[in-house]
Amino acid sequence: MLDGTTRAADEVVAVMPPALVECTVEKVAVNAVMAGCLPEYLPVVLAALEAVCTDEFNMHGILATTMGVGPVLVVNGPVSSRIGMNSGVNALGQGNRANATIGRAVQLVVRNVGGGAPGGIDRATHGSMAKLGFCFAEDEAGSPWTTLSEDRGFDRSQDVVTAFCGEAPRVLVDQKSRSADSLVRALAEGLRASVSPRVVMGMDGMLVLSPEHMSRFRDAGWDRNRFMAELAGHLTVEADDILAGAGGIEEGLPEGLAGMTLPKFRPGGLLVVHAGGSAGLFSAIVGGWVNGPMGSEPTSREITP
């Protein structure tokens, strides 16, 4: 396994929460073997651990929270095809060996080295499959848009892993929209319920557009910026509909926000990725968690040999 990296076995990769112990390349390698990784996956695992073990990503809180969230890892760059990652059919599901074992290795390191065992520091009420390991590659070749990593300031030629704090994905069905305008409205409607229809701006989200959904925007000549602008225009919430007590529901926004129209997500709080099989008029939503300095920031790291 250690042959998969040029880094020394005793090099410290990160200080691993929750126990805050220094985690070496060798410890990561041991867990990567247990997860079923091939040696060529190891640099991705190492970069992912560097991303999650930052104050801004806040792995400790993500582990400890009662919400069922975990690090959702998106891989961009030539590395994904070089090591055989799946960005197509079932990318968010069984994936393939690379997808499944990279995500699992990261979780095993947090559990075994950091000591974050379920029932201990890990207090998730239900947990979710995102906590087992959630890793996939973006379908860059099939997308007319800039990639997630480009959107986050990297060059397309760079190998990058982005960690997003999220739950397991859920399907968003739209099988009838034939125009970009119709589909973007449908996506906005579905995204409004991410985490809860009564949560606005405080939690981020991820939208995984399928190739067939992407084709609507490709045909209309929309690039990523046009899509994001059109989506933001539809993705607003009338505060009056979700004030505490509105509709007989005690959960909700404080009275002080009455009368306002609010964006569902904070600026930059929705990550959009292209992945999935070539057939299927579905996209996927991954709900997030408390965002920003109060919770978790999506965090990217370059993958190096």
Binding site: E26, N58, G61, N112, M294, G295, S296
Partner: protein, 94 residues
């Protein structure tokens, strides 16, 4: 002759250190009790009531708050509580 089997440990190989609990206060009269709000909604309502009850029993109450419930209390805050208080009550919430 066969090679010896080497077993690698996937854990950090560390164990929490045992620490003795501080003596329990036998009375609250004149005892400084810290109330730590983790900054979740309505934790303050719970702690307001606890502060009221502790005050009735003669305790001196000091209030503290974590900047966010999603992260461990900062070291400085933990030190402040440890040096100023004989006991601490932490509020979860919701």
């Amino acid at each position: 002759m066969s090679q010896p089997t080497v077993v690698l440990d996937p854990t950090a190989g560390t164990a929490p250190s045992d620490r003795t609990r501080s003596p329990r206060p036998t009375s609250l009269v004149g005892v400084t009790v810290g109330l730590l709000d983790i900054s979740k909604p309505r934790g303050d309502i719970f702690l307001d009531r606890v502060a009221e009850r502790l005050g009735e029993q003669g305790a001196i109450v000091l209030r503290y708050a974590k900047p966010t419930f999603t992260k461990p209390a900062p070291v400085d805050l933990r030190h402040e509580i440890a040096t100023q208080c004989a006991a601490v009550i932490e509020a979860l919430a919701d």
